[in-house]
Amino acid sequence: MTLEVSGGGSVAVETEDLLGARRELREVAQRVDGIHGQVRAALACTELATGAAAQVLARAENELADAVREAELLACELEAAAEAYGWAERVVLAQQQLLARLVGPVPELGALLVALGVSAAQHSALTVGDPQIVAALRHLADAVNLPGLVVLVRALPGDALEETAVTASPVTASAPRIDRAPGGFGDLAKRIPPAQAGQPQLRVEKYTLPDGEHHWIVYSAGTIDWSLEPGTEPWDDTSNVVGVAGGSAGSTRAAIEALKRAGWKSGEPVVPVGHSQGGIVATAIATSGVAPVPAVVTFGSPTAGVRVPRGTVDVAVEHTDDPVPALGGSPRPLVDARLLVREATPADARGSGVLPAHELTGYARTAAEMDVSSDPRLVAARGKLAAFTGGGPAEVTLWRGERLSEGQAAGSGAGR
């Protein structure tokens, strides 16, 4: 397992391997310290030993004391080195973003084309998960003024990127299904509805705590329709672009509508969870201020450039070979407190689609690895989730959002 967790605390970058090595060194220091104590006690009986025996015992005692110090120091240095590495990474990111703002997107576009060319030559085919392409995409996204691009595209003939009114309807007509509370990140990922045409895009869970307060988790699917011109499906590319640009995406409005229709009342806290575009929805709910959001969890979402409100635990899971998170640009390195979990897609969990590193099955595997991680920030985030649900049970409803035509919208009174 090579999870890399950054942000959200004093240690900026720390791998599971590093945590393991630090733990082992502390165990070494503790054991050797115990043996050192025994030898020191033995030395107190030197009147029993010959001169030579006392001399070598004293040498052993010195070596053991040095070994304890060395193991403790190395354990501390591992932590300090990780922190320094994290800060160096953040400063480099900040410099790259500043440069991108100063010179515009042309060099980044050039870099992307070069990276595509190099990758195609190396692999005899285009491999969009190549780390250099992912990095070039991220720099290009930093340099592009997306809100301006949306305005420009909307000015063209046709309906590309034009938002519409939406509605949300329950798919489960009968009483809500009862389910247990999620046990961790693995359960959160598994509960995200699959992105399938005509199927529910949203799962809403309602928790009633012992004091009668209601807490909610809303899970959002990824992109279903890849066309730029909006049809009836709100989980489309229009919502992708408008959402990343910070606009009011149809999928986000459908999710809020589903929550309201499920019985959510203003002021009741919500934890939004999503994969891909679902992460855009989740982050938009967190930043909209529509509900108190103690935590937001995203898998493979292009939301790095978005800063959630202070006090919200922002857990972002990204596969290093997935180009989609890169489309959200770089995180704001010097101010962000998001908990970024990065890992290459587990080899046996890669999908078979166009973007094998982006599929939900792979992210579900990474989420399961997060559940067994001893990283203190992931442990704290899991604890926060458990406290939020109160251990369950959950009342579960499934919802499907639809875009409305102008005529339907006028009839229903739904807004954009």
Binding site: E24, L48, A60, A67, E70, L74
Partner: protein, 72 residues
């Protein structure tokens, strides 16, 4: 005189047993040392050197304990 010598010998044997026990406890510590090949690159090289240094200290302590046991 004979009684004193026997008591002294018993105490030396007890001390030898304590030293031998310390040696035995030191051996499993080797297995706890982190994998020296954990990382590649310059940081990995520096880490390997430090782990090797720690291992040498434990080797030296173990050798000194073995020598002390032989002298007792």
């Amino acid at each position: 005189m004979t009684v004193l010598s026997a008591e002294h010998e018993r105490q030396r044997a007890a001390l030898r047993a304590r030293v031998r026990a310390a040696e035995a406890e030191l051996l499993p510590v080797y297995r706890l040392l982190p994998d020296r090949g954990l990382w590649a690159g310059p940081a990995g090289w520096a880490f390997r050197l430090r782990i090797d240094g720690l291992r040498e200290r434990i080797d030296a302590a173990w050798a000194a304990l073995a020598a002390a046991e032989a002298e007792l």
